[in-house]
Structures are given as C-alpha cells and as structure tokens.
Amino acid sequence: MSPEVVTELPRHLLSIGDLNHDQALLILDTAEELAKISDAPIKKLPTLRGRTIVNLFYEDSTRTRISFEAAAKRLSADVINFSAKGSSVSKGESLKDTALTLQAMGADAVVLRHPESGAANRLAGWTNGVVINAGDGTHEHPTQALLDAFTIRRHLGSVGSDLNGKHIAIVGDVLHSRVARSNVLLLTLLGAKVTLVAPPTLIPVGVESWPVQVSYAIDEVLPEVDAVMMLRVQSERMQNSFFPSTREYSRLFGLNLDRMNLLQKGALILHPGPMNRGLEISAECADGVQSVILEQVANGVSVRMAVLYLLLGGNIGVGS
C-alpha cells in the first residue's frame, strides 16, 4: 500500500510565498525521486499522459522553456509552445484574451514567462487551469529557487532535510532580480541564513522587512558562507547610474579567482544563468571545481517534473 500524501500544494505555483516548509520539502524530495529517471534507459513516465501543458513565453528564454518542455514530456504530457513576443497589451492580443483562448483549447496548465510583475497572478484569475510562474518581471521565479535549493541540499544536506544552519550569500542586482526574491523566500523558509551583497543602489528600499542581512563588502562575507549565488548584472544598468561602469562593478562585486580562494573548502558557487563572464563572474569561477552551475541546469528538469507532477498528477479538475 502506498502512503497517502498528507501535504498538498496550492493550486498554482505563483510565488514561493504561497508554500510552507512541508510543501517546499515535498517538492525537493519528489524531485530527488524523479531525478533517477534521467539514468533510466527509457526516460519516460506515464503519469501526466493526456494532460496538455502550454508554455506561454512572452520573453525569450530558451533555457527555461526547454527545461519545462523536457520535464513535461518525460511525464508523457502534451506540450504546446506559445511564443508571444512583445510585452504590452497594445501589441496584439491581451493576456486575458490569450488566457481564455488557451482554456478553450483545453490547456490543463499554463507555464507563463512574462516581462511584467504580477502577470501570473492575473492569468490565474482568468483561467480554470493550473498556472506555473516561470518568471514574471522582477517579482518571482519559483522553480529557479527550487532548483537552486535542491542543488545546494544535494551537496550540503540530504533527502528529507532542509537547509537549517546553512549560510548563503546572494550577490548582484537584487533590486531587479526575480531569482533573488524567490530565493530569499525559499532559503529562509528552509532555515538558511541569507546575506545579500550588492551596491546600495541595487538593494531595494524596504529590504529591512526581509529576513536577511545586507552587506556591501563581498570580501568579508565570502569566508562565512556555505554557498554563494551570483546574480546576472545587466550592463545597461549603467545608463541609469546604478553603478558607474562595468569595470568598477566587477572590481567591487565580481567573483574572481582571488575571491573564490576566500571561500571555504566545499562552499558552492551558483548562478542562475545566463552568465556575463568577466562581469559578475570570472571564467575560473564559473568553470572551477566549486561551481555547480551545470548541475543547476540538470536539476531544473527534475525539479520542474516534481512541480508538474504535484500540481497536475492527481485529481485536479479542469473546467470545474
């Protein structure tokens, strides 16, 4: 007899803030099991056969879209890719109309990537299907945080455990980063201590209400952490004077060889990608022995399989 699940997930995955500790662990533990399928001779499970999942991507993101597509197909779901370039309502069909169209076509779930914060929340109000936020503006990217936590836990924790007592630094453009927001929520939910490192211009006003510490001195923080997560920094931010030049940013906040040597042995280097080699992270760090960046990508498929299974694998009614 299989054990009955006690923990259920909310209907949609819009924000890490919607998950509690047990739900987050359930996703990570389920991902551990599903990861084994990538070693199986036949990388396919029948679990989501007959479910239709739509990838609705308003932003270019080949990496995330392929990851979700692979995850869905490994669970035997049907995948439809809907690439809608151009963000604002004025360019073509509105988000609401697209949502209603997809529902009429029988989509059980929509995976949404959109340039505006809150788009997934809005979509959830217009459709009966399940909505998975694959990145909305500068708000959240829940599955990225889940695969980051999964990767960290594999090295520093174990199946069934959380990240209690671990110290993680997030370095870079926190202000504009949905990855940072989701990670702050998830890592602290799992019991880790989080320190943000960035120039003051890239730390949001209101960060005082976050359960994190803030530092402007990366060299002081690196020796203390079990993992450092580097965020992508856009050089266009220079135009708005968030920092004076990429050279200065790199010099003050970039992860280079000297800084990598400040890390404890066994400390991990993460990056959600895509990387600006030479700006926020040097080649030696990205390719070095402490980097788990490629593992993050591989783990993305397992984590997304777990999310799809837990949201769609049961008696989720459509059109109810």
Binding site: M1, S2, P3, E4, V5, V6, T7, E8, L9, L26, D29, T30, E32, E33, L34, K36, I37, A40, P41, I42, K44, L45, P46, T47, V159, Y309, L310, L311, L312, G313, G314, N315
Partner: protein
C-alpha cells in the same frame, strides 16, 4: 478505523514466519538455486518482507541475495481519482535488473492493479530474464489477469472486508487480521 466491525486474527507471528520460510524454499526450488535472484519489495510493507526473504534465502543458500524497493506510485492507474501522492524512493541494487530473475514481493494481492503498475515500473528500469511474484496473502477478487507464484496464505474474503497487515519493523508486531462487514 471501522469501529464496531468484528476483527478476526487470521495469521499470527509464528504463522507469518513459517510462511516466509516456506516461500523462501519454494523460490529456491522453482529457480533451481538462488543465482541471479533479485527481490524487489513494493512499499511499504512489501519492502520489509523482501528484506526478510532475502535474508532467509541467503542463510539457506549461503550467499548474499540482492534486494531492493520498487515504488509504483507514478504508474498507478488511479492517479486521477485523488490528490497527488508522495513518492517513496526506488532502490535498485547495483547489479541492476538486466537478465535477473526478479521476484516482486508484496503483503497482500487483491485486485492485481498494484502488480500491473509494478510490472510497468520495472519495464522502465530494464528487462529482467523473468518476473515472479511472492505475496504473504492472496485474498482473491482479481480485476486483472495477474497471479502469484508464491503465496503465504490463501484468504478467501468478501470484497467489503478489510485485510490489515502488521509488520514488526513498523507496526510493532507481526499479524494479519480481517475486519469483517458481517459476522462470519
């Protein structure tokens, strides 16, 4: 809990242990030894029974018998009728399943759907030479053409009765009871 239902103990600790010993001998006899054997238990209780059987066979034949766990959750045919179930780990010993004689082990054989799912799950891991089935209790009422090779006890039941298996590794005692709908 079905309060008020009459409960009858049908197997006690001694009965279970004798049944397992007999099954172990039958497995060795049918397969002319224990070479290439792999026991895979179906969670939760089947996994523990597989471990016990592996130990018994191993002490008879004086060798280490590989055993593992086969989680069948993702292959169930009733997934859509309830919220998603948590997965339990599948553990396949390092020798794999290729060319092995796999003996699936479960506590109760009832409709046969669990075993159907197990065969699908196994098929995705590899291609065994043979698949056999050992159960502690066969209570009838098959809904699929599935049969056990080794049976601890045949237990005719009515469909609305409940067969409750307790295994000491998790339930403190070894025991099988039937909670009946009617007085027998």
């Amino acid at each position: 809990m079905s309060a008020g239902k009459p409960v009858k103990t049908v197997l006690e600790e001694g009965d279970i242990s004798r049944a397992l010993t007999r099954i172990a001998h039958e497995i060795i006899e049918k397969n002319r030894g224990s070479e290439n054997l792999l026991l895979l238990g179906i969670p939760t209780r089947g996994a523990y029974l597989a471990g016990r059987l592996a130990k018994i066979i191993g002490s008879i034949d004086k060798r280490e018998i590989p055993n593992g766990v086969l989680d069948i959750t993702l292959h169930r045919d009733d997934l859509r009728s309830r919220p998603p179930r948590a997965l339990t780990p599948t553990v396949i010993p390092s020798g794999g399943v290729e060319d092995k004689i796999v003996v699936l082990v479960d506590d109760v054989l009832f409709s046969g759907r669990t075993i159907r799912a197990a065969l699908d799950a196994l098929g995705e891991i590899g291609r065994p030479a043979q698949v056999q089935l050992a159960v502690l209790v066969d209570r009838g009422h098959r809904q699929l053409p599935i049969r056990a090779d080794y049976v601890g006890k045949n237990l005719p039941t009515s469909a609305d009765e409940i067969v409750r298996v307790s295994i000491s590794e998790i339930d403190e005692i070894d025991q099988i009871v039937i909670a009946g709908a009617n007085e027998s």
